[in-house]
């Protein structure tokens, strides 16, 4: 399955794992991965992109949807393990001003 999610043992961190192409086809699965999780105060979200091979602008749109759903400016979302190509795409769109990029 290209998108899955896991919760840390202390319940404070939710990680969404994306593998393969991160594009329009992953939309529903990606949304389901964080919609199911109740965003209580202080919960951090991590989108693990270590196994994502590619990302297009519709994926950027999906990240914006996620951010909006989790509270907009108050959402705590980290995009982790970005490949060079994905980092480049995120930088061009200046998403570092909306997300933490690790």
């Amino acid at each position: 399955m290209p998108v899955s999610s896991s919760v840390s043992p202390d319940g404070k961190e939710v990680t969404v794992h994306v593998s393969g192409r991160f594009d329009f086809a992953a939309q529903n699965e990606f949304r389901d991965a964080y919609h199911g999780v109740k965003a209580e105060d202080g919960v951090r979200f991590v989108v693990d992109l270590s196994r994502a091979s590619y990302m297009d602008s519709s994926a950027l749109g999906m990240l914006l949807m996620m951010r909006e759903y989790l509270g907009g400016d108050s959402a705590d979302i980290t995009l982790s393990h970005c490949s060079e190509e994905i980092t480049n795409i995120l930088n061009v769109a200046n998403f570092q001003s909306l997300f933490k990029i690790a």
Binding site: S57, S58, L60, G61, L64, E68, V92, A93, N94
Partner: protein, 571 residues
């Protein structure tokens, strides 16, 4: 369930056989017509349009194979099954029957059950065939209508977003043909003060949604450019509008450029697009690269939106390149992408500037390594040519004319504006001021002339009067950029001072006369000393005065250069 209305054509020269078949078929409720040879069969088919044909192979005049070929040709788009009546099931005759268009065989001697089963099976196929067929026809109709609507919408869309400015000889572009309405949008408009604004944008996704988003973008872009707004204000306005109309996951990456003819500078706002390049034609190298430093448009609210632009100085012959990310993402045969490295390498090869555009397209095509069209590629090249930039523009006059009513009769009125330092620091007052004048009096579409006059008077009062800038700086190498840099620094530090604008209008035969007096509280200059040199000076610094004298009847400097009064006659 048998359908009694079905008609079956029986073609057999053997009367006994035929009568036997006819008897079985009539008992089953079919209508029967018969033929005694192949030729008769074809004629009967053409006349009665039966639903099914039972065909003997050997017949006088025309055999069953040929008759079947002709019947299949006659039936065209409808499916009329032909069942061959065969005495023996030898392989060769079976092959020939199928080759001639036959659909099944019925071995002799005939058996009622076998016949009925075959007819039922073929009728089911026919029904399926007819359903598929009518659905196909329906789809074709839909598609045709949709295509007509799309073509119409496309013409409308192009009329709205495309202006003649894009057809100027110094602009070349290649727009993505990926979809009828691509997600890429290219806008160009002449500024009232000379120069151009360009916008290359890329919506998330493409198609109708992207095209719909492009409409407000183009109307804001053209409207505000014609009114003299700067690109920082235009991108902020587009951002605010898109934020309200676009769904959260949709945005517009855009690179917006202001090419200013009078200051020979360029300002760029890049949010989410690949780097914008300035290529020095003489040295054959990239002189400046403006990478994206902002979020795309339509994502964040006003208070977080950054409209800061980057500036660069231009030299005649410079080539400016913008592209959409489709260029960098052009896929190769193994799925790898063209990428930044190949793109940058091309611009580092010291190629003649005029070859770059074609060479890049060529390399993209070669990289893609097959005959497919380049899909999602938008590429724009602008040659910086000062004379072309100063061209007037028909669409600009039209845009300007639209702003006010043309039929307002000349009337008498006066207006005074006092612009204090804290306002000057934050706002360019000219666009709203000129909008007010056009709304009040119309001026018959002379927005551009008014803009030029006010822009000269205002920048004179601000830059020389309040900020104390020295025009001769502009004559030095890189002087323009340094001049405007100093202007920005001093303006943002401006703590006190005022610019006062006094306007008096009175009607005259067929038009009116607008008296404009602009005063500043700066230290001024000695009119006696400076004026002769200004009016003789055709260079950069004095050109403003020349322009004023060409548009206005009187140009008076008063109060040691702290005040200027001009009379503008129109009609």
């Amino acid at each position: 369930m048998s359908t009694p209305t079905l008609t079956v054509l029986v073609a057999d020269d053997d009367t006994t056989n035929r009568l036997l078949l006819e008897a079985i078929l009539e008992q089953e409720g079919y209508g029967v017509i018969h033929a005694e040879d192949g030729r008769e069969a074809v004629e009967a088919f053409a006349q009665y349009h039966p639903d099914l044909v039972l065909m003997d192979v050997r017949m006088p005049e025309m055999d069953g194979y040929e008759a079947t070929r002709q019947i299949k040709a006659l039936s065209g788009d409808t499916f009329v099954p032909v069942i061959f009546l065969t005495a023996n099931s030898d392989l060769e005759s079976m092959v020939r029957s199928i080759d001639s268009g036959g659909d099944d065989f019925l071995p002799k001697p005939y058996n009622r059950i076998q016949l009925q089963t075959r007819i039922n099976a073929l009728m089911r196929i026919r029904e399926l065939y007819n359903t598929v067929h009518s659905q196909r026809d329906e789809l074709r109709q839909h598609q045709k209508r949709l295509e007509r609507e799309r073509q119409l919408a496309k013409r409308l869309f192009n009329n709205i977003v495309h202006t003649d400015v894009l057809d100027r000889p110094n602009i070349r572009y290649r727009l993505s043909p990926m979809s009828l309405f691509s997600g890429d949008i290219l806008l160009a408009a002449a500024k009232p003060s000379g120069g151009l604004h360009l916008l290359l944008g890329d919506f998330t996704g493409h198609g109708l949604a992207a095209a719909t988003g492009a409409l407000p973008v183009s109307s804001i872009f053209y409207g505000m450019t014609a009114k003299g707004y700067a690109i920082a204000e235009i991108v902020a306005e587009i951002n605010a509008r898109l934020l309200t109309i676009l769904p959260v996951d949709m945005f517009l990456a855009a690179c917006v450029v202001d090419l200013d003819a009078s200051s020979q500078t360029l300002s760029v706002w890049n949010g989410g697009m690949p780097p914008f390049l300035i290529y020095d034609a003489e040295r054959r190298q990239v002189r400046q690269r403006v990478a994206s430093t902002h979020l795309p448009l339509g994502i964040v609210a006003d208070e977080k939106f950054e409209s800061r632009v980057e500036m660069a100085t231009l030299r005649s012959g410079d080539r400016l390149f913008f592209c959409s990310d489709g260029v960098l993402e052009t896929p190769g045969p193994q799925g790898e992408r063209f990428g930044n490295a190949r793109f940058d390498a091309l611009f580092a090869e010291e190629l003649p500037a005029e070859d770059l555009f074609d060479e890049l397209l060529h390399r993209l095509q070669t990289f893609q390594a097959d005959t497919r069209q380049l899909d999602d590629v938008t590429l724009v090249e602008v040659v910086y040519d000062q004379q072309l930039l100063e061209l007037g523009d028909a669409t600009l006059a039209a845009e300007g004319g639209r702003g006010g009513r043309a039929d307002i009769p000349p009337t008498s009125w006066a207006l005074d504006f006092v612009l204090e330092a804290d306002m000057l620091r934050h706002v360019d007052p000219l666009p709203p001021l000129i909008q007010t004048l056009v709304d009040l009096q119309g001026f018959r579409g002379r927005r551009q002339q008014l803009y030029t006059i006010f822009s000269e008077l205002y920048s004179n009062a601000l830059e020389h009067g309040l900020l104390g800038l020295d025009s001769s700086l502009k004559d030095q190498p890189n002087g323009f950029a340094r001049y405007y840099q100093q202007r920005d620094q001093r303006l943002s530090a401006l703590a006190e001072g005022e610019i006062r604008i006094h306007l008096r209008h009175r009607p005259e035969a067929g038009g009116g006369c607008l008296q404009i007096r602009v005063e500043d509280t700066g230290s001024g200059f000695d009119t006696e000393r400076v004026l002769p040199s200004l009016s003789d000076n055709l260079g950069k610094a004095g050109r403003g005065i020349q322009l004023l004298r060409s548009l206005c009847e009187q140009v008076h400097f008063t109060d040691n250069g702290n005040g200027v009064e001009v009379h503008y006659r129109w009609g």
